[in-house]
């Protein structure tokens, strides 16, 4: 497999140079030259009006795609409680199954989970594969990945989705390797293309670009899905479905890495990744005590507190509040950035929020480029005004 410029056809017109997302093509002496960093993404091939670029792919042996049908979602439970991302997966899974005229199933692993199986059916599942055994009470990579791979190989679903959570992002990559198929991480958009393939859209390069990814020759098509992007369907307790009890074999229980303890840090770590409204502060707050201002605003609005790395590094607020590349990725309905300049490392953690408000005294601060609404002004004047007016309503 390789990429090749057909010299007789290339006239050095540079169309490919402009089309290359990676800046890896240059024109030397009227001939396109492909750089070593070429990822074979293929963007240049259709861009060339002269058919001068060719990517040869020796097609791997064909898998009979028609053997595969049905949409599966991997239900996530913690301490026996189904996580909200599971219902979002059911919501999007139902849509995809509808488009493929197939069924939606949920895979549920845990201990004493019969009631949860009912919740999954109410949430949209046509059937639930239930793996119910003490060894499956807590998530463990090896038993979970072994059982899920076996079920996939046996039942051949066309699509398998899981949450892009700590659990999902540990389990699913292992399974994708075991069943030898493609996996797209952290999707924010899923749809079915005209040819029946799953179109998986996700941010890359820290949210600077979006990519739509296909798994054309392998099945199942697997993806992890970002939390709070898909819509859960309202539960319907009258829905009927069947629960398939999966037999747990002795060998399924085997694990080398063992969970020996779970430590919850609820009080300490407000999980800002879950919040619908975040008020965030940066270096512009000037001192730790000024976070009290933000807290008032957060209280008036019923939101959580976020921070830039500058504020965290200054020790004004704990790291668990940090938003950005080395902090958390958040996606609330409303994100209010106060005294934050909007460095790219901060933006990548919050720019997919539905609505962004920026309060900054520097009209040229980059945060205004991603803001839906902005106030150019001194936060020490603006925030108290906001708090007062919000309280008065």
């Amino acid at each position: 497999m390789s990429i090749r410029v057909i010299e007789e056809k290339c006239n050095g017109c540079r169309l490919c140079v402009r089309a290359c997302p990676f800046g890896e093509i240059s024109v030397e002496e009227k001939l396109a030259v492909i750089g070593d960093g070429c990822t074979l993404c293929g963007a240049c091939v259709p861009a060339c009006k002269f058919g001068a670029i060719e990517i040869e792919v020796e097609r791997a042996k064909k898998i009979d795609l028609s053997q595969y049908s049905g949409v599966w979602i991997v239900a996530e439970q913690r301490r026996g409680k189904l996580q909200s991302v599971t219902f979002e997966l059911l919501g999007v899974g139902k849509e995809l199954a509808g488009r493929r005229a197939s069924e939606l199933s949920a895979i549920l692993m845990g201990h004493r989970m019969a009631a949860a199986a009912g919740e999954l059916i109410a949430g949209g599942a046509d059937s639930v594969y239930l793996i119910d055994s003490p060894e499956f009470e807590h998530y463990q990579d090896e038993p979970y990945s072994r059982v899920l791979s076996r079920l996939i190989n046996k039942w051949k679903p066309e699509i398998v989705l899981a949450g892009a959570t700590a659990i999902g992002r540990s389990l699913i990559p292992r399974v994708a390797v075991m069943v030898r198929t493609g996996l797209t991480a952290d999707c924010t958009g899923l749809s079915i293309g005209d040819d029946g393939h799953l179109l998986q859209t996700r941010p890359a390069f820290g949210g600077n670009i979006m990519a739509t990814i296909l798994t054309p020759r392998h099945r199942p098509q697997m993806a992890t899905v970002r939390h709070k992007v898909m819509k859960a369907a309202p539960p319907d307790p009258a829905r009927q479905g069947n629960v398939i009890n999966v037999e747990v074999k002795e060998s399924d229980r085997f694990t080398r890495a063992k969970v020996v303890d779970l430590v919850e840090e609820k009080e300490k770590t407000v999980n800002i990744a879950e919040a619908d409204l975040i008020v965030s502060g940066g270096r512009g707050l000037q001192a730790p005590e000024n976070f009290a201002l933000l807290e008032e605003l957060a209280l008036a609005l019923g939101g959580a507190i976020g921070a830039s790395r500058a504020a965290v590094d200054a020790g004004w607020i704990p790291y668990s509040h940090q938003v950005g590349q080395t902090g958390k990725t958040v996606q609330p309905k409303l994100y209010i950035a106060c005294g934050i300049s909007g460095a790219i490392q901060h933006l990548v953690g919050m720019q997919t929020s539905d609505v962004i408000v920026a309060i900054n005294k520097d009209p040229y601060a980059p945060i205004f480029q991603v803001a839906t609404y902005g106030i150019v002004g001194d936060l020490f004047e603006v925030i108290p005004l906001l708090v007062n007016k919000l309280r008065r309503r």
Binding site: I3, A19, F22, G23, L40, G42, E58, A60, K61, D141, E142, A166, S170, P173, R174, V175, A176, V177, R180, T181, G182, L183, A185, D186, F205, G206, N208, I209, M210, A211, I213, L214, P216, H218, A257, K258, V259, V260, V263, E265, T269, E274, Q325, T326, K333, A343, I344, Q351, V355, I356, P363, F368, V370, Y373, G374, I375, V376, V382, L385, K389
Partner: protein, 261 residues
């Protein structure tokens, strides 16, 4: 203790810009750095070696210029480095990348702990680490924020979860992916830099690690990038200047009519 660190060279996202006309990345003049999460993996490898002795090998798959990432690792205290590089590896997705890395690790032979970063900041997938563990059929502990204990047979580590952390124990060999909280990376020493400059870095191609055909590069990759485009910018939003009181009123009005508050 034989330690392997997988590192990736990535463009520094600080400087990435999108060409608004073509919706493509402008890479000109963009510096390449060692993936920041991999710097924590390198640091943790060095700390493990300081505790238990042994040897650290850094591994990267990438274009020839990725060699500089390996030299940076060597300057920090890594003992040996291997570059996996060949046009045949181009276009690898996470399946093919983890397969290739796992094959190289098998060739290295003896390994007790494999360290990866949590994720690479270009692809942001976090899939390669668990993928390597699956190919090698060894246990994994992802998102490690602390290694509590390590012996020549086993390890005990804390895995970061959304609501707190899990404590896991695993026999060796094991693969760990590490998060930022695990340590504070050191700077290279002058001696380290000298050593790194002179070090020999072997380059392995497909024959060297016995791979090929439909397992590597674009052919070996089940996924295929169909389209790349710029995200919708929220920007050119409404910016209120001037009188603060007026601005605040307008903002509240907008947020209320959007049913956001």
């Amino acid at each position: 203790m034989q330690i392997i660190v997988c590192i990736k060279q990535v463009p520094d996202t600080t400087n990435i810009k999108i060409n608004p006309e073509t919706n493509t990345l402008i890479r000109e003049g963009v510096e390449c750095i060692v993936n920041p999460f991999d710097m924590y993996a390198i640091e943790e490898a060095i700390r493990l070696k300081e505790r238990c002795g042994g040897k650290i090998t850094a591994l990267t798959m990438g274009p020839p210029q990725a060699e500089s990432a390996l030299r940076e690792a060597l300057s920090l205290g890594v003992d040996e480095a291997v570059l996996i590089s060949n046009r045949a590896f181009a276009g690898s997705d996470t399946w093919a990348t983890s397969f290739t890395l796992a094959s190289a690790i098998r060739k290295i032979g003896h390994y007790d702990i494999i360290l990866c970063g949590k994720q690479a900041i270009d692809g942001d997938t976090a899939q390669v680490g668990p993928g390597v563990a699956a190919h090698l059929n060894i246990p994994q502990i992802t998102f490690v924020k602390k290694i509590e204990e390590v012996t020549d047979r086993s390890i005990r580590a804390e895995r970061m979860m959304e609501e707190g952390f899990q404590i896991l124990e695993s026999p060796l060999p094991v693969l760990l992916t590490v998060v930022k909280e695990i340590n504070e990376p050191r700077l290279p020493s002058l001696r380290g830099k000298m050593k790194a400059r002179k070090a020999d870095i072997p380059v392995w191609g497909p024959e060297d690690i016995d791979v090929g055909g439909d397992q590597i590069g674009l052919n070996g990759s089940p996924t295929y990038v169909a389209k790349i485009f710029a995200p919708e910018r929220k920007g050119s939003g409404k910016i209120f200047r001037g009188d603060a009181e007026e601005a605040v009123d307008q903002l509240i009005h907008e947020l209320r009519s959007g049913k956001l508050i």
